[in-house]
Point group: C2
Chain length 215, copies 2
DNA sequence: TGAATTATCACGGTTTTCAGTGAAAACAAA
DNA sequence: TTTGTTTTCACTGAAAACCGTGATAATTCA
């Protein structure tokens, strides 16, 4: 019989880690060589055990220290032969896009059935990529809707002023805080309003909060 | 040997469900009689199989149709003999508090180790409740910090006006929309500002967004 | 180096918000 | 039935925001 495939699993939720390990240990063609809770642990292992052939790294996206996206790019950069499969809770189009651009070999949701998980793993180990139909669909939708959002980019100053506005400071206060003229801040407010397509302070504030620009 | 304990597991992420099943099927004292993806499935099963003795329901909080909190209260209401263990991703003090008040028998995080999971299950099956140290700590902190938040309650109209303000409507527009005088809306705005302890529209908007009053 | 973007400032006029103060009617709860 | 809350409306003066329409210097980047 062939030697089993060597797999690393990374997820910060130990229960999920244990569960996945338990599921995969039933598969005789798979050998789990490491389970890790952070991306850094995985990278460290790969760097130390360079002589060991690792076939696949299964990773979550949300992890402390080094998340799945960073881990993925690092692996593809340093160990291009190692395949990666992302198993994530979220179905965030942007993150999926970044991951595909970083040459992830597969992406499935934690909603996926066990059979789909095994299918994905086998496909990848066979040299094919695997993205579940749902993920493909989300990617497609993102492609189309992306064009409708022309990506508003704000300069440093604009961002700074916007934050202060959303924090309830008045024009005069912001001017004092930044050692600028009150007129300057007024210009910024005006620009921000037209740039972001909103009508007033409320709109600016909502934009700032929803984009997570505060705290 | 004793008859094994009958357990139901509910979680909308099938991978987690499979993982947990896989872990627990190693335990001989445990028999998994049902795995479900929604709370309603669990309730339906309990209602049909009334003669069957179910010892424990392990459930996530976030689930479609009927979440873990509703499921828990329903179980405690209809089937008080059935124990419940909540296994959740989130460590939200409020939800934990609601669950303890609804007589949940245990609460552990998905961060918990396998050993802790088994410990929790065994404790509960032995008639004790189990809350992990971390959860206890969060609960304690919530108790103390709760007093610092004096629970601001807004009336229907106040909420309505606040929403419209946060949606960038001017006083006049809101007045027209609600068939009220402009002065009335001004009063509401003023009251809201002092009630919520903010300074201006930005503060009101932030409050509305952060409380999830919009969508 | 030249073009584009960013950062800065200015002014007059209009609208809106903010702060203070007050009050009447409707309604629910105790 | 009294008390409290909610909903409704009104006026004033000051402050701030909003609108239009500029301009100049600094920086960045192609």
């Amino acid at each position: 019989m062939n030697t089993p495939f060597s797999i690393i699993i990374a997820d910060d939720h130990s229960m999920f880690l244990d569960g996945l390990t338990s599921i995969l240990s039933e598969e005789k063609s798979i050998k789990i060589v490491l389970t890790a809770k952070t991306g850094t642990q995985v990278l460290k292992y790969l760097r130390i055990n360079t002589e060991e052939k690792i076939d696949l790294v299964i990773t979550d996206i949300n992890m402390p220290e080094m998340d799945g996206i960073e881990l993925n790019t690092a692996i593809k950069d340093e160990f291009p032969k190692v395949k990666t499969l992302v198993v994530s809770m979220l179905e965030d189009a942007k993150k999926i896009k970044i991951l595909t651009e970083a040459n992830t070999n597969g992406y499935i949701s934690k909603n996926a059935e066990k059979t789909e998980l095994l299918k994905a793993i086998k496909s990848i180990l066979n040299g094919e990529n695997y993205f579940s139909p749902r993920i493909k669909q989300i990617l497609m939708e993102a492609m189309f809707s992306a064009k409708s959002e022309p990506e508003i980019s704000l300069s440093k100053r604009e961002t700074e002023v916007l934050k202060l506005i959303a924090q309830e400071f008045t024009t005069q206060e912001i001017a004092d805080k930044l050692f600028l003229s009150k007129h300057t801040i007024e210009s910024y407010r005006k620009n921000l309003i037209s740039k972001l397509g909103v009508r007033n302070l409320a709109g600016l504030t909502r934009y700032a909060v929803e984009k997570g620009m505060l705290e």
